[in-house]
């Protein structure tokens, strides 16, 4: 009998919804140069999907320790990728943050040069950061607590 976490209805609905929420977040990150949104909003939405899963199933010590290094890894890779793309501009063009990829046709998904890659890196970074913050708060045990 599982007394941690919420009831069975909430657990089932969370399991069904988390895929759609993460897909919606990836859509907002990928179309960041065509529609409103971008890396920050999409990253926070992806983090929201994972936080829903934690809240519905109850965050315990073992699961949070297992997933904390994954969140930290995603966050570190995100900001490292952002810096790497900026340094590519320095090596190829001569200026930091120069737009060196091919611009392509306007209004297509793979246009805009450096901007979709930067959006993806920022999305990974923000999602990892917020899931890490939430795990640190949910798995906290104060000194006088049971």
């Amino acid at each position: 009998m599982n007394e941690r976490g919420m009831s069975l209805i909430v657990k089932t609905i969370a399991r069904v919804l988390v895929g759609m929420i993460v897909l919606y977040g990836i859509y907002i990150v990928a179309h960041g140069h065509l529609t409103p949104g971008g890396g920050f909003a999409g990253g926070v939405i992806i983090a929201g999907g994972f936080i829903l899963l934690y809240l519905a199933y109850g965050a315990s010590e073992k699961e949070s320790e297992f997933k904390k290094w994954q969140a930290s890894l995603s966050e570190s890779l995100g900001i490292f990728g952002f810096w790497l793309v900026a340094m590519l501009g320095l090596f190829i063009g001569g200026y930091f943050f120069l737009n060196v990829f091919a611009k392509g046709q306007s209004y297509r998904l793979f246009s805009g040069g450096i901007i979709p890659v930067c959006n993806a890196a920022i999305g990974a970074e923000v999602a990892g950061a917020l899931v890490g913050i939430f795990i640190a708060f949910a798995a906290l045990k104060l000194l006088g607590e049971k």
Binding site: T35, P36, Y107, V126, A136, F137, L142
Partner: protein, 111 residues
């Protein structure tokens, strides 16, 4: 012009909460209200009366609102989230050590 006044009035409400209140969480809420007043002021400055959202359409549309204050506010919102998370974590540790959230009782500085 009245809109700018109301935005700065909300900032002053947050400043009152920061200076007068004694509970630590009320001070955190006052900091968040001051940040919201800043975002509001920047978004009001960049508004243009007959403009639309700054997304370049395929045909037509030449009058946009100013995109530069919106870029600054976008950065500021995410930074506000970071500082809120850090100061709330510090408040939880202060409660664990002192047993109270009253700032007049948290006085034992060491070192």
């Amino acid at each position: 012009m009245i809109y700018y006044f109301i935005a700065i009035l909300i900032f002053v409400i947050g400043l009152y909460g920061l200076l007068v209140k004694r509970n630590l969480f009320k001070i955190i809420i006052a900091l968040i209200i001051m940040e919201y007043a800043n975002f509001l002021l920047f978004a009001l400055i960049g508004f243009r009366k007959e403009g639309t959202a700054p997304i370049q359409p395929i045909v037509g549309g030449k009058v946009f609102v100013d995109p530069l204050p919106q870029a600054l506010v976008l950065t500021a919102i995410v930074i506000g989230l970071g500082t809120t998370a850090l100061i709330v974590a510090l408040a939880v540790r202060i409660y664990e050590k002192y047993g109270t959230l009253d700032i007049r009782k948290i006085k034992k500085l060491k070192g």
